[in-house]
Amino acid sequence: MTATTSPPSGMGDAPPGSARRAVGATAQFEALYRSCASDLYAYVASMLRDAAAAEDVTALAFERAYRRRALFDLRRGSARGWLFAIARNAALDELRRRARSRALLDEPADESTPAEVDDELGERRLLVRAGLAQLDAREREVILLKFVGRLSNGELARVLGCSESSAGTRLHRAIKRLREVCHAPQ
């Protein structure tokens, strides 16, 4: 499975020399940042389970997106999906780096989890967190991309490098499995 981060083309962007369009593209990038930053960080942090690394990877994803914005092509999907695909690849790079360095097992979880707002909600989150942890990596990823990243199924397909129908099927199976593990007696 591989994500298609390779440049689509042109984030509403501007041919060189067009200052007016460049300003428009800059505003688009800011808008993309504002609309995606929180969800993107949450997704990356959920993947990496390391707040500091998640911050680095999120920043890197935006930096790459900015550098490649002239290559973005709206016809191939939304900017949000494109950005998440870039972030996913950056997160996978980070995980591979850890695997290579063999340091991966020395790093404790460092998740910034919001405070529980009440007991029942806290327990429910605890339960779902445990359930999510029991999913395999692919199932968990599709859940995180959808629930946390709030991607459309088309965007999901682009990030996962599969067809939209396959993405929908994978998502549905993952949700079903999450329900099963949440209901399974412990």
């Binding site: 940042y33 695997a99 327990e123 629930f147």
Partner: protein
Amino acid sequence: MRRSELSPEARAELQALDAILAREPVGEEQLELAALVDSVRGDAPTLSEAAAARLESRVFAGRGLAGSARRRPGRPQLALAGGSLLALVVAAVVVLSSGVLSTKSPGVSTRSPALAPQSAQTSRPTTPTASAGAVLPAVPGAARSGATAATPLAVEPTGRLVSQAASLTLATPARSLQGVADAIAASTERSGGIVESSNVTLRGDASHASFTLSVPSAVLSRLIASLSRLGVLRSLTRTTTDITERYDQAQAGLAAEQTTRAGLVRGLAAASAGTAPSIRERITTLDGEIGLASGEVVALASSARTATISVSVGVR
């Protein structure tokens, strides 16, 4: 599998999911799904103010973008039409609790009866240990986030690898709440843990505090005992999940994928111009799989090494 193979119910659920994520009204029959989404999103790490500022600064540095005019990206909460938050919570508890969640009631309810009593001796320092055919790695490592330098994985005397979590509810007089909150943070730090998040509201009888703590698994019981003495213990829930098989499988899967990749890389060196692109494509695909598998191993090791405690303090 084509989309047409999805049942009408499945398709309807995916549509409802999109509606939930878009904060559009959903029917009562979808409240359980909404609760699931809410739980996953609510548990996802969030950008702190400081981290958001750092991120913004890094992303926009040198790009000539208007910095001060930018607002911190918001994190819209799910507003569920068709049911209040209370209804949502109730629905979620009804749906999700069967056989797993304990309902709240005065007094202490401890779940997971199958668990051995948790104590320091249930978690032993991990040296390479044979477990179901796999070798658990030693865990040296200074923790980046402040846990103890050598945080052992939680390994039961049987050699099983376990993941632990607990949820604690305390009650205290309003005037003592700040002190209790301070004591929770201090006890956590003394135990080698960290306060992942906290929320303390001082408002007379409406005062409350909540914490999410991450602590070395080996000290979980000791810390629970210590925290329980800080107020009247209203409820205690503990969960333990045996993750040995999953850990072993994840490690074996990762090793197999790495071996396959090494073989492909060797093959690439001898490949012709005609076959090289397809080998490269397979390597790229495999890299994604290796990344996911690595993440799985990291996640499992982390969940065995550290336990999470949710603490809620109210006024009595």
